[in-house]
Every structure is written in C-alpha cells, then in structure tokens.
C-alpha cells in the first residue's frame, strides 16, 4: 500500500476516535473509552507507517536529482517536513503521540475528547487549504541540515502546547462554577469559535468533494461559508456562526455536568497543562527560536530580522514564559494561568498558520 492510503486510514481513525472520545465523556462507559484508545493507537501506527514510507520515497526522489549526495545528507534532505502539508501531518502525529503518552501515564481517557478535535481540525485544514500533497523538489533555501531539527523540535513543541490547550480548556470548563463567571464567557466563546471553524471546514470539505473543479484550488479555507465569494452566503454564515457561538454560550454549561464524575480532576488537568508546557517550552525555545535563528544566520547572515514569523514565535514565547513565571513566582493559580495556556496556543496557531495566511515573511513554506 502506498503512503497516501495509510494517511487516509489514520485521518479516518482520528476522526472516528474523536467522536468516540466525546461519546465516552457522555456515556462514561469503560468499553467505549478502550475502543477510542484502540482506534487512536491504530491510527497512530498507520500514520507512522505512512510517514516512514513518505520519507523513503522522498529519499529516492532526492537522490534522483542529487546523485552525488551521501546517505546521511540525503536522509536529512528527505525528511518529510518541508511544506505546509507535511508539517501539518507531523503536527497531528506529535499531538497524538503526546496525547497517548499522557493517557497511559495519567490513566485518564477523557482528555482525548479535547485533544482529538485539534487533530481533526488540522486534518480538515490540510484538505481545504489547497496545500499540495505531492513530494516536491526541495528549494535551495531549505537545503540545510537545520531543516530536520528545526522543524522536528518546533512541531513537537507545538504539539505539546496543543495538549496543554486541551487540558487548560477542560480545566476552565471543570472549575467554572456558574454561568455568571467571566471565565464561562471565555471558554464558551473559545470553544464556540473553535467548533464554528471546525464545522466551517467540514462544510468546505463537503462542498469541495461535491463540486468538480478543474483548476487547482488555492486555499479553500472557509470559502464555502464565512469567506464565500457570494455576499449573501457570507452574510448568512456570519449570522449563523454568531448564533451558533451564542447557543454554545447559552446551553454550553451542560458540558461541565458531562465532565464531572470523570477521572479528570482539576488537579490532574492543571498538572497536565503544566507538564505539557514544561515539555513544549524548551523544545520550542531550542528548536523553534534558537535553531531558527542559527539557521537564518547561516543562510542570510541575520539571526533576527523581526519578520512576522519570527516576531509571532517570540510573542508565543512571551506568553508561555509569562505562564511559567506567573505560576511559579507570581503566585497565579487555577483559572488565571489556564487562560494563559489557552491564549498561548492561540498564538501558536497564529505563528504557524496565521502568519502564512494573513501576513507575509520568509517562511512561505517553499511556495
């Protein structure tokens, strides 16, 4: 079987696992939880196989155009972490890996309902962003030994931050006692917006597969709804989205009831949030910021140019540094730091995707 088949199997498995994890929250039946985990593990192995196959294929792709390149150099250049598609795939892989580790270490399955939707969002985004899935020749700027380590560590860091986001969001939901609290508005809007985007991408996906388009679609993200070229559809979508977020705000309190009675105590969620950030922060600092700067210096002679990608990485770094200091020396506890963890991941998403979609910079992912 080829690499895309294994990818598709894993994508299907993760989306199925998301639904079952959410069902597990509701029915609280142990068997359902075990099925969710089993499907996730299955998806993970399938994706790992796909990742390896793609690496091997890229290796031959590279050596075909660089016959004199040695084994180590070719392996480094062939690492499937070269464009938006490959990096998103690797992000999902890291996210699931870290999630599974936490699930086994903490012996709690409920977090899956908060982490797998992030994976599902990333997978849907791949299909609607119009990013190419082909193995592409490596442009000169990316032909560096730093590519593998910079991207690998950055994305492991991003994935750890993703898990901390899931845990912090769950923490805020669990500890918000009444609908009148400000944190209730915060989490209902964050989750409402997240679900809106997820559903929006789902509609994009369906509309993409039902309409036959001849031309290559560049960035179809939310084009079927909020960013539709038809003003009417866009307006209705916006009204619908706002109404949807309102409904989440109005009736979302039930989620807290669903979550109570599970093994997810606020203490465990707080601990998972911190542990993931404690893992992600060094990875992101070393892999993202430091290696990125060293690479920039060896390629352009400037280790820091304040381009939007760099600046947003730094903003992300500030937010997590703030989390760590507020928690350890600033005496911040509970919901306040959990909110910082949520904001941190919003900054991560913007660093990763927003900069490329909205702003420009050197990190055009080779395009």
């Amino acid at each position: 079987m080829s690499s895309p088949v294994f990818f598709d199997i894993s994508a299907g498995a993760y989306i199925a696992a998301m639904i079952i994890y959410i069902a597990y929250l509701v029915v609280k039946n142990k068997t359902v939880g075990i099925v969710a985990t089993a499907i996730t593990v299955f998806g993970f192995f399938s994706q790992s196989t796909a990742f390896l196959i793609r690496w091997i294929n890229s290796f031959y792709f590279w050596t075909a155009s660089h016959p004199t390149s040695g084994i180590i150099e070719s392996t480094l250049r062939a690492a499937p972490l070269r464009n938006l598609y490959e990096s998103l795939i690797f992000f999902v892989w890291s996210l699931i890996l870290i999630h599974l580790i936490i699930e086994f270490k903490y012996k709690t399955r409920s977090l899956g309902a908060f982490v797998t939707p992030i994976a599902a969002a990333a997978l849907l985004f791949i299909d609607v962003s119009g990013t190419s899935k082909e193995i592409q020749p490596l442009i000169p700027a990316l032909q560096s030994n730093w590519l593998l380590f910079h991207v690998l560590l950055s994305f492991l860091g991003y994935a750890a931050f993703g898990v901390s986001f899931g845990a912090a969001a769950a923490y805020i939901v669990v500890t918000t006692e009444s609908r009148n609290e400000k944190t209730y508005i915060f989490w209902s809007i964050i989750i409402g917006v997240f679900l809106t985007v997820l559903i929006g991408m789902g509609i994009d996906y369906v509309s993409l597969s039902t309409t036959q388009r001849a031309e290559l679609i560049q960035n179809y993200f939310l084009k079927a709804t909020l960013r539709s070229s038809s003003g009417g559809i866009a307006a209705i979508s916006w009204i619908g989205s706002i109404a949807f977020v309102f409904i989440i705000w109005r009736f979302g309190y039930g989620l807290k009831k669903v979550l109570t009675g599970l093994s997810l105590t606020p203490d465990i969620l707080d601990d998972i949030t911190y542990k993931s950030i404690a893992m992600g922060f060094p990875l992101f600092t070393i892999g993202g910021l430091i290696m990125g700067a060293i690479w920039a210096n060896s390629a352009w002679g400037k280790y820091w140019t304040w381009d939007p990608k760099e600046t947003w990485s730094l903003i992300t770094w500030f937010v997590y540094a703030l989390y760590l200091h507020a928690r350890f020396v600033g005496g911040w506890r509970g919901k306040r730091v959990a909110i910082l963890a949520v904001i941190g991941f919003v900054a991560v998403i913007f660093t990763y995707l927003g900069v490329n979609l909205v702003l420009s910079g050197l990190h055009a992912y080779g395009s």
């Binding site: 000169p140 032909q143 542990k275 600092t285 210096n297 600046t311 702003l359």
Partner: protein, 479 residues
C-alpha cells in the same frame, strides 16, 4: 540621615525592578506591542502602509492615521525609542530579579541536608509507611543499597533504636534558571556588539566584476578592506521543471593584489573572509549588458574547443567546414502551446537559448536553437556538436554582506540557554528521608520526600526504591 534616605531610595528602586509584577507587566506589554510590527509592514514605502490603513480607516483618513502611526514609530517599531526602552527595562528587570533571588537559591543549594524528626518526615508531600519483619541493620543496609542504586549519595544519622537515611539529588538544577536568564542578557549583549561593531549590507556584483565596498543603502557604502570578484553566477533547475535547485556564484577574494580565496557559494553555504561573510541571497539581469556566449564545440573526430563569442560572431568547427553565426538569444525559450511559435516566457534566464545560423557543406542553411538546459539540442550530424555553456556577463549575483563580531556570543548564549532550559525543566531537586525504627522483631520504615518538579516521576522513584529494598530483605530472610 541623608545616608538613610539614599538607602531608602535605592531599596525602593531595587524592589521595583526586582518585582515579579514588573516582569509579568513587561512580558504582556512586549507580547502585545510586538503584534503591531507584524501587521504594519516595517521600513516599507509609505504608500504600502497607507493602502493597508485605508482598508480600516478609509481613503480620507489613511494619510492622517499613517502620520500619527509614523510619529509613534510604528513604521520601524522594533527600533523605536519606546520599544527599545521596554527591552532595556526588561533586561534590568531580569538582572535585578536574578541578583535578588540568586543568593537565596545558592544558600538553599549549599546548605547540607539535615535529618528530620519522624513528624517532619510524615509532613513531606510524598510519604510512605511500612513494616517489615527484619532487623534494624538489615533494613538499614538494604535501603542504603537501594538508594545508592538509584544514584543517591546517602547520609546517615542514628538515634535511640533507630537509624535515619537521608539524601538529595539534583539540587544544582535549581541554579540553572539563572543560566537561562544570563543567556538572555548575553543575547542582548551579542546583538549590541553586532549593531555597534558590525554591519549588514548587500552587494549586487555582475559576472566578471569586482568590488572593494558593500552597500548599506543605495548611496552609502562601507569599505571591505579587500576586493571581491564574481567569476560567474548560475541558477540550476530541477530537470524538466522551472523549480530552482541551486543558486550559485563563484567568488574570488583578492587581498594585497593576490588571489587568496575562491569558493562557489550557494544558499546555506556562504563565504567568510576577514570576519565578513557573503551570502547568496538573490540574482538578476543587468540592463544593456553585452554578454559573451560561451560555446563548447566538438567535432566528430574528437577535437574540442571552448569559444567566447559576441552577438553576431561566427565560428567554425575545425576540420568539418561547419560554420555558425550567432543570430538570436532568448532568456527563456518555449513553444507557445496554441500557435506553436517560439516565444520568450521570462526575462530571467530560466531557460536560456541561443540561435545559430548554420552553414553545413552540402546542406541548406538553417537556423537552430540550442538550449542550455537541454544539451541534446546542440547535436549536429556527423558526431559534431555545439554546447551552449553560458551567456556570461549579463547576470549579477545578489549578495548579503554581513559582519557580526557579536555572533559568537549569540551562539554561546544559545548553547547556555539550551542546557539551562533542559536542566531546568527535566532535572528536579529531590530529597528523601527514610527513618528505620526497631519495633521488636520488625523494622518500621517511614519514608518522606519532596521534589521541586515532576512529582509523579518522583513518586515512581520512591516506589522503586521501596520495592527494591523490601525484595532484597525478603531474599535475605530466606537464606
């Protein structure tokens, strides 16, 4: 009296800069203000940002808003006085905070561990109690061994019918947060050295030309102290595509009239001489440059020749009577999909081709296009061939020129920060006390411990030590 007042002011200032609140405030401010410069394009043409602002404020107000923003330094905000001031405050805050806390941490690290009372042990965050049927000394030996096996250096205190083992590990990890803080300061210092004693410039160097200066701006040069020459520039493409595979230039350094260094540079592989580094950054075509066509001709009998010809020049392949005249050139030749006519699809040398009017004895005169990237286009009858090597002298190589004497400090700081963060987050300061009390033919074990990080792993550690020791005691009792 005055002395005291001075001291008070100093203390107030110190306390202000040592406060965590200031640190939190500065992190928030830096994160928020940094966003501005990612939206407003930095050091750009005013028209660009006015067009951007018009989207938000309308055409009428955009210029006014632009002027206000420009006054606030938003157009070059990372160098603006207020942003730099925040960075300076941040550095002072970092230094003072660290100095303020360091002695306390150092004392904590240096103070030797003391035995605790049984109640003290029981009040530790991680605690365990068990009773084993064994003698005091056997229990002491086996717990000692188990702790040593886990890498702890064990101290011992004995009292009335009881022995206490106490130990700690990883206490130096507590100091590494200061290594991280120090590395940030070193990065700032490295950046300052780079700004003060280095430069970032550029140089567009045409093929075959040399320069003794680099440019900081179109009308500001900086002497290099030597001569740099570009022998050639070349873009290589992946076969059959227009995706660049490599951007390369051959550079030569001439110092004191002697050629001292020659290197083919490419992206990610620069050339450094006398602390100045030349990076491959772009390329382009010069206007109105008369280039040379470098052709490699070979005859069927194996004679080879490299020629340097101008537009309109003629040549002959020796011993064959084949004559050729250069009559046309295209930077990027292609056949139009619809009409089938030959056209040029790019002004850059993506697919260079030279047209030659051939005069072959016994054949009709004809015009042939020879494409550089497709050498098979130059094959002539009788084993003769013309290879289009280069159209030389019309391209320039775009170099980034940088001198940064502070960069070693940045690298040093990077290493320190990596080590510091790793130890800071992954090594914890663990303390364990094990009190063993003789209780007739039993030994009562009370274990207490604390860890500043990763308590879950620490609890597993303790479990391991306990089970190891109990198993060993059991083994011994069987013998």
């Amino acid at each position: 009296m005055e002395e005291k007042e001075k001291k008070d002011i100093f203390e107030t200032v110190w306390k202000f800069f040592a406060s965590v609140k200031l640190a939190i405030f500065l992190l928030i401010i830096l994160a928020l203000t940094s966003i501005i410069g990612t939206i407003v394009e930095q050091q750009a043409e005013p028209s660009k940002n006015i067009a951007l602002l018009a989207k938000f404020f309308g055409d009428a107000f955009a210029p006014t808003v632009y002027n206000i923003f420009a006054k606030l330094g938003f157009m070059d905000m990372y160098g603006s006085w207020w942003f730099v001031s925040f960075l300076v405050l941040f550095s002072i805050n970092l230094v003072v905070c660290s100095l303020d806390r360091f002695p306390k941490t150092l004392r904590l690290v240096k103070t030797p561990l003391r035995p605790l009372s049984e109640n003290g042990i029981k009040s530790m965050p991680v605690k365990k109690e068990l009773t084993i049927k064994t003698s005091l000394n056997t229990a002491r030996d086996e717990f000692f061994n188990a702790l040593t096996a886990s890498g702890y250096r064990v101290y011992e205190a004995s009292g009335n019918g009881s022995i206490q083992l106490y130990t700690q590990k990883g206490r130096f990890a507590r100091l590494f947060v200061y290594v991280v803080h120090l590395s940030i300061i070193l990065i700032f210092l490295g950046a300052l050295i780079g700004i003060r004693f280095g430069f970032k410039g550029y140089l567009n160097l045409p093929e075959g030309r040399a320069s003794t200066v680099a440019y900081l701006s179109p009308d500001k040069t900086i002497p290099l102290g030597f001569t740099i020459k570009c022998n050639w520039y070349d873009t290589q493409y992946y076969k059959g595509t227009d995706t660049p595979k490599e951007f390369q230039s051959e550079l030569v350094i001439i110092d004191d009239g002697r050629e001292v260094l020659k290197k083919v540079i490419e992206v990610n592989d620069p050339l450094t001489y006398n602390g100045i580094t030349f990076y491959q950054s772009n390329y382009g075509m010069m206007e109105n440059a008369a280039g040379y066509f470098i052709l490699n001709i070979s005859s069927g009998s194996g004679q080879e020749n490299t020629l340097r010809l101008k537009y309109g020049d003629s040549f002959e392949i020796p011993g064959t009577g084949i004559k050729g005249t250069i009559s046309d050139f295209s930077t990027a030749l292609t056949r139009d999909r619809n009409t089938g006519a030959l056209t040029t699809y790019s002004e850059m040398m993506v697919n260079p081709a030279v047209a030659i009017d051939f005069d072959i004895p016994g054949e009709k005169k004809f015009k042939g296009w020879i494409l550089r990237r497709y050498p098979e286009t130059g094959i002539l009858p009788g084993g003769n061939s013309v290879k289009f090597v280069d159209f030389w002298g019309v391209e320039y190589t775009g170099l980034q020129v940088a001198k940064d004497p502070g960069v070693w400090l940045i690298y040093l700081a990077s290493i320190l920060m990596s080590i510091g963060l790793y130890i800071c987050f992954f090594i914890s300061h663990k303390k364990i006390w094990i009190q063993i009390t003789n209780d007739r033919d039993h030994a009562r074990i009370t274990v207490g411990g604390s860890s500043n990080r990763n308590r879950l792993a620490f609890e597993n550690d303790i479990e391991k030590i306990l089970s190891r020791a109990s198993k060993a005691i059991e083994e011994r009792s069987k013998k």
